[in-house]
């Protein structure tokens, strides 16, 4: 799927033995795995994490190898990341999702200076230097409002498929105002908006604007330097991307591999650090 994308940071030399590395990103909602061979992305797999993050890591890893007909012995190194990174005990190393998302984004476009990653329970802003290293980062604090789980709760309250959230919000003519920072209270705010007869598209657009406001405020702490890339599962929601652009006044590139970007970064790091 990513043929032609070369790894600009692996530092591999011609004639060096081909490295086959795996990145496993066990997030709070989904577990992702990718295979990188000689600086090229060979394939990826995404499953739901479920209650046992160790099992999820094993399952997504085994599933991906089976799909690509790769034997375990052929794998040189494995790096785990994500909130469940330390439970992937068969990995050679655990690296935080901050470093992995930065590496993954830099791999796709070395010009990127800011990464906004919104996952299941974390939102992060990562400032990169010209070498693709993390210069600074900010993360959401104790509250998970404005993350993937927040959007899931809202989708359930609105009885709208989460995948349709983005497109629906683009049809909004007047976004509703969602002011509560708390996911549970925001949900009741949404329910009262429904009761008042507010349209779904305006409510969804309002939800996206509240996410945008929260994430931009956080990202501004590290400085939103362009070009900006968005990664993480929520990047697939065009409504959130537009809301972030509107709020920050910057254009945002969406990673083609948004959801597996952290796993890509992990696999690349596995190839570099021996």
């Amino acid at each position: 799927m990513a043929s032609g994308i070369r790894n600009p940071i692996s530092g591999m030399e011609k004639g060096q033995r081909v490295m086959l590395t795996i990145g496993i990103d066990v997030g709070s909602i989904s577990a992702k795995a990718v295979v990188v061979k000689d600086g090229e992305l060979m394939g990826s797999k995404v499953i739901l994490t479920g209650y046992n993050s160790r099992n999820a890591g094993e399952k997504v890893f085994g599933g991906l190898l089976a799909e690509l007909c790769i034997s375990r012995d052929a794998v040189d190194r494995i790096v785990a990341t994500g909130y469940g990174r330390n439970s992937v005990d068969f990995a050679d190393k655990a690296v935080t999702e901050i470093t992995c998302h930065a590496t993954g984004a830099y791999f796709q476009d070395p010009a990127i200076r800011t990464v906004i990653d919104i996952g299941g329970q974390d939102s992060k802003a990562i400032a990169l230097n010209s070498a693709g290293r993390v210069r600074d980062f900010a993360m959401n604090d104790k509250c998970a409002a404005g993350t993937g789980r927040f959007l899931e709760v809202m989708a359930r309250a609105l009885e709208v498929d989460l995948d349709a959230f983005g497109e629906k919000s683009l049809q909004s003519d007047s976004p509703a105002v969602i002011s509560s920072l708390c996911t549970v209270f925001a949900e009741s705010e949404v329910i009262s908006l429904i009761a008042k007869g507010e349209s779904r598209k305006n409510i969804i657009a309002g939800i996206h604007e509240s996410v945008g406001a929260r994430v931009v405020a956080m990202a501004s702490r590290v400085g939103i330097q362009e070009p900006v890339m968005m990664t993480g599962g929520v990047a697939r929601n065009v409504g959130v991307v537009r809301a972030l652009e509107k709020r920050s006044g910057k254009s945002i590139l969406v990673s083609k591999f948004a959801q597996v970007n952290g796993a890509i970064g992990a696999a690349l790091i596995a190839a570099v650090n021996r």
């Binding site: 935080t96 901050i98 974390d122 210069r135 600074d136 604090d141």
Partner: protein
């Protein structure tokens, strides 16, 4: 049948600070004295951590620190439970958790030492925060004990002559308050002697902290959090001087023998704000796993930070400035200057700031200080969201990811 003994980890034993035992003994005696004061005829005064304690020592009153007690509650992981008790009494969960835990503890005689001894009087100095005013009023009403409030104006950059006179006159009122409540004349000569001991103790404490300038550092901020107790509670006594003299000797011996707080110290960090009392071990192990040592902190150095404003030969008069210009009572720019000074002095690689849910005066301005440090020293900084004693405000995986990512930045 063979008995297998657990092998002694000699490496770990070597790193243990021997003075810890002595310190525990002193603190145990101190609390026994305080808790048996009603039998020995001594008076007990509750006092805020930044309050002028020397006049109490001079009058042979036992000073008791609800904040030190708060730290013990936190370290014993009893904070959240006591805070919930206070919330059930009607206090807002947004208040300082030292205040909440202390107020709740009084009603149940709970906590790690079964509550503090009843105060005969309370002394509240607002140089550390505004919460102490209402907190001490609540406790003065609860115990029906007299309360003295020392109001120290906020010193953004300078200390005006008007401020000096304002605080100085209150010190006279403070001495009069003690005369009334102790039923005897205040001995100014004794205060001068206590003041001298206090300053000597502070200089020794500073000297102990300064041993961490050495590479590797013989002690970490986590050690300082522990050994701090005496300069807070027994400042102005010979006990504190003797103890810190011993501790300083031990640190010098460690430096000479190359014994470090953290094995293979590679990264030196500066800590800002109060400790996360219920997680000091976890945080210490976490940083040590990255070969990082928190070599200094803005918190424990606050108990010797205003020495430059104190005059041993004119202690009473110099107390006005010394007790006003403490770390939490100065402007953000001045705080940033002190942070920059410590960064240079201890030669650190990064700054770790605890954004403490409880402590507004300490946590307000941290983002500005962070920016100033990044601009002027280009150092990586990390902000951890937590609370000093309320474990409900701590998310392990969130904090762990931040620390790991911060260390990855430092190592890159």
């Amino acid at each position: 049948m063979t008995i297998t003994e657990k092998p002694v980890d000699t490496e770990k034993e070597k790193r243990k600070i021997k003075s810890v035992k002595k310190m525990k003994e002193i603190m145990t005696h101190y609390y026994i004295d305080a808790k048996t004061a009603d039998q020995t005829g001594k008076k007990v005064a509750w006092i805020t951590s930044g309050g002028p304690v020397e006049p109490l020592i001079a009058m042979d009153v036992i000073p008791v620190y609800p904040e030190n007690h708060g730290a013990m509650i936190g370290a014993s992981k009893m904070g959240a439970d006591l805070c919930e008790n206070a919330e059930a009494m009607g206090y807002s969960g947004d208040l300082c958790t030292y205040a909440l835990a202390d107020i709740a503890c009084s009603t149940v005689n709970g906590g790690p030492i079964g509550g503090l001894p009843r105060p005969d009087m309370l002394v509240c100095c607002n140089n550390i925060c505004g919460t102490v005013l209402k907190w001490y009023e609540v406790q003065a009403r609860y115990y029906n004990a007299p309360l003295f409030i020392l109001d120290t104006p906020f010193c953004h950059t300078e200390f005006s002559e008007e401020a000096r006179q304002y605080v100085r006159r209150q010190l006279d009122e403070y001495l009069a308050f003690l005369e009334t409540n102790c039923g005897r004349k205040f001995d100014q000569d004794h205060l001068a002697e206590v003041g001298r001991l206090s300053m000597e103790g502070q200089r020794l404490w500073q000297a102990v902290l300064d041993t961490a300038i050495n590479k590797p550092a013989p002690m970490s901020a986590f050690d300082a959090f522990f050994h701090l107790a005496l300069i807070v509670t027994l400042r102005g006594t010979k006990t504190a001087i003797d103890y810190y003299t011993e501790l300083l000797d031990e640190m010098k011996t460690r430096v000479a023998g190359g014994i470090s707080a953290v094995p293979n110290e590679k990264y030196r960090l500066l800590w800002d704000n109060l400790p996360v009392w219920y997680r000091t071990r976890w945080l210490s192990d976490k940083f040590a796993s990255h070969s990082a040592c928190l070599v200094a902190d803005t918190y424990t150095s606050a108990w010797c930070g205003s020495l430059k404003y104190m005059d041993e030969t004119d202690f009473l008069n110099s107390m006005a400035e010394g007790y006003s210009r403490i770390y939490l009572n100065i402007g953000t720019d001045k705080m940033a200057d002190m942070v920059l000074g410590m960064i240079d002095k201890y030669d650190v690689h990064g700054l770790v700031m605890h954004s403490n849910r409880s402590c507004k005066p300490y946590s307000l301005g941290q983002y500005d200080i962070q920016r100033i440090v990044q601009e002027k020293r280009g150092l990586p900084t990390l902000i951890i969201e937590a609370d000093m004693i309320d474990a409900r405000s701590f998310s392990e995986s969130q904090v762990e990811t931040r620390i790991d990512a911060f260390m990855e930045v430092l190592k890159a």
